[in-house]
Amino acid sequence: MTGLNPLTAGWIRLLTVAGLAASLIGWAAAPEDIPRAEPGEELSGGNTTVFDASPKAFGFPARNMQDEEHRSAFFVGHSFFNNNWVVAPGATAGRDGLGPLFNTRSCSACHADDGRSRPPEPGQPMTSMFLRLSIPGSGPHRAPLPDPVYGGQIQGQAIPGVPPEAEVFVTYTEIPGAFADGEHFSLRKPEYTITRPGYGPFAAGLLTSPRVAPVMMGTGLLETVPVETLRALAAEQKRGGHGIAGHINTVWDSALGKSAPGRFGWKSEQPTVRQQVAAAFNGDIGITSSLAPAENHTAAETACANKASGGHPEISEDIFNAVVMYTRTLAVPARRGWTNPAVLRGKGLFTRIGCATCHIPQLQTGDSDLAELSHQTIRPYTDLLLHDLGEGLADHRPVFDAGGRDWRTPPLWGMGLVFKVNRHTCFLHDGRARNSAEAILWHGGEAEAAREQFRTLPKADRAALLDFLESL
């Protein structure tokens, strides 16, 4: 306090008096952990944020996208995102080349309205989710080794004259549990059955991992967060102790021909949006691109060989670029109710019980070739790092540096709008959680302490926390 001038000291005295007055009328008596709404907190995607809470909330271009060429590419990309690809040769040359093996005919089949897919109903085969496949060991560039016959994922559909790979069904076992206050809950644990294999037996020791399609928007922003930020977050977690230590997946960037940090996919297996889009076109729809030029079947799947192609590659470079632009610039919707007292209380609890250690509320994007995405303050609620989530969620299928219990912290922005857009709230990588509370309760491993804190919160606090998630 030395060196304060008398005027400042006077202010401090005045403030002390004011503070006392505030205490007397109970103004400052609010619980300590209710944070305030921060200015701009509702702008989850910075200047890209759109204000829309309708069933189309995930489908708008970045609000700050002014460039006419960018806009054109966005809308062309949107069209092809929704487009049903057809068997080659087709009447419209730009849209043929489906399969020979595929999961769906369009991106929008799983990412309905740019949103999130869900598991099939009991007794129905998977159509908008699938199983990834590999065998123990790793291949070139440390990538997972595909099943020698079925490749890297089960494709449940095929063009005429080609057998589909298999049908996959899911059944659930209910696991009862209880909150500390005695209220019961039940979690459903999935089990998968592969039937009608089209190409003989699967390899011994087959590893599988189920995947639903996540919400699309915001990926371009996440791509732009500097890797140094991610490293710093990992270091900070390690310093903080509590057994939480995220790590970056080091994967293969096929455009650069070298290793790169992974960011996308449930195990952070893709380094860029572009590679993610190419992989999805190739693996899920059977559409080749400049970045993934080989047809999506193995040599052992001879029935697939020599089928008509939709061109080399099947998606033209212009259209591919447009779909990538579209994906990168889909806008994040603004939060709703972000100043509500219950939501603010939930926000405080989210930090207090440890959720925010990995679901990082605020990040800064770096330089991007798209000015729209550069230097934005974003609120994605992720660290983009891999964490051990425990045995309950484990798939035991390693991918590069992601172990069998590791999952990437998914961004939480927009999760309160999933029901509005997609009419369901099936969360986690396989959609097993039927709502956000169940998603929290499935957390284990590094997140076990936070989960236990949630489980032992009073009911009103749990509700406030869920209100907060709903506002994202």
Binding site: D33, K56, S72, N82, G94, T127, A334
Partner: protein, 400 residues
């Protein structure tokens, strides 16, 4: 620890706020207090409320007209399926085109999570993969109508369950499903040329096609009636009463969001840019009837209705009241002039679109049709950009 450090400054600010309040009450003038303000702008607020109630009246009238026109369409389709003939098919097509006029004008009321936004996917989804519904060239067995083994019984529930199942273009219902069933696949330039014989006994699955057309038309009428009821005046608990009870600025922001999202992302973007860039005729909204130009004209007129607060109803109910223009005139007359000119320019740009839209797409870059399409894209986008600026002029929080 973290919580405390976060809260220390906030307690300080609470203290400062209180201090300023105390000082203000004691008559001490500080530069940051708003002593110069002359109190709330009562006239401005009154005008805003009048703009909102006039808007609600326009929405109400437009949906009532849409329902009436859609019921006429339903009657015409009833005639077609009971007596298939060239004349009944033509009458049904004319009724569809007439219903489109009113419906397109109502699209200015989308995009703020109002009643239409809950049902739009069942009312106006496009572009359709038409082989999802009925036969196409080279595939006579295609579609729900012909696929008896998978769907032995057609019903409203089935059609709803299949709408946009496993793909945005797998559309089973709404205006464009009806459009395809009336015009058929556009094999040659211009509109499709489905024959009335598709509905006459003897055509493959004629009975199922008649049934399907009836089902989707009834569903369309019901959906639009539900929306109209939500906007009817004097009904406690419906959307209109909720809308008029919103905070004034929030409701005004809805109005602007509706017209701004329609002109920019929707009209300039989805309706025209993709068609312009890919040169594919099925990328236009009314690809079966080749009526896309009229849709855009009526969309632009719907925006004009909201902006000026006027609406001319074919049933003789002319609504004339204050609109956004009047609010802007108070805020910034020069800007209001620019905005009004652009609203009219957008209507003119839509009218300047080539009548046979799909053919105009195909020409070289300098062909008059493509030039007109490009000009319309720019006009609608400029309109949207100005609407975003208008929100700023009115001190509304709106981000398009």
């Amino acid at each position: 620890m973290q919580v405390e450090t976060q809260n220390a400054p906030s307690r300080l600010w609470r203290g400062i706020t209180l201090l300023l309040l105390l000082l203000g009450a004691g008559g001490v003038s500080l530069p940051m207090t708003c002593g110069a303000e002359s109190g709330p702008d009562v006239d401005g607020l009154k005008l805003k409320r009048r703009v909102l109630s006039n808007y609600a009246a326009i929405v109400d009238a437009t949906y009532q007209d849409t329902v009436a026109a859609t019921k006429e369409l339903s009657a015409a389709i009833g005639n077609l399926v009971t007596a298939p003939a060239e004349s009944t098919l033509t009458a049904a097509r004319d009724a569809w085109l007439a219903a489109r006029v009113r419906y397109s004008q109502s699209e200015a009321f989308r995009f703020y999570d109002g009643p239409i936004d809950q049902l739009e996917g069942q009312i106006n989804s496009w572009p359709i993969d038409e082989n999802y519904i009925d036969y196409v060239t080279g595939d006579p067995g295609a579609g729900l109508i012909n696929c008896v083994s998978n769907y032995p019984v057609l019903s409203r529930d089935l059609i709803l369950a299949l709408n946009q199942k496993e793909g945005k273009k797998n559309i089973s219902t709404g205006f464009h499903a009806i459009e395809f069933l009336l015009w058929g696949q556009p094999v040659e330039p211009g509109a499709g040329k489905r024959s009335w014989r598709d509905y006459a006994d003897g055509a493959p699955h004629a009975e199922r096609r008649r049934q399907y057309l009836r089902l989707v038309t009834d569903l369309l009428v019901d959906n639009l009636e539900a929306i109209a009821a939500d906007w009817a005046g004097g009904v406690a608990g419906n959307y209109r009463s909720h809308f008029l009870a919103l905070e004034t600025d929030a409701a005004l922001a809805h109005m602007l969001k509706g017209i701004g999202a329609l002109s920019g992302p929707e009209m300039a973007g989805e309706r025209l840019t993709s068609a312009y860039e890919t040169r594919e005729r099925e990328e236009q909204q009314d690809c079966f009837s080749d009526n896309s130009r009229n849709d855009l004209i009526d969309d632009a007129l719907g925006i004009q209705n909201v902006y000026f607060g006027n609406c001319r109803s074919p049933r003789g109910r002319n609504i004339q009241g204050p609109g956004l223009h009047d609010l802007l005139l108070r805020a910034d007359p020069e800007f209001a002039g620019t905005m009004a000119a652009q609203i009219r320019a957008a209507v003119a740009a839509a009218r300047a679109l080539p009548p046979i839209f799909d053919q105009a797409l195909l020409g070289p870059k300098t062909a008059p049709g493509r030039v007109a399409i490009k000009a319309a894209i720019q006009a609608f986008q400029a309109e949207s950009d100005l609407i975003a600026r208008a929100a700023g002029k009115l001190a509304l929080k709106l981000n398009l």
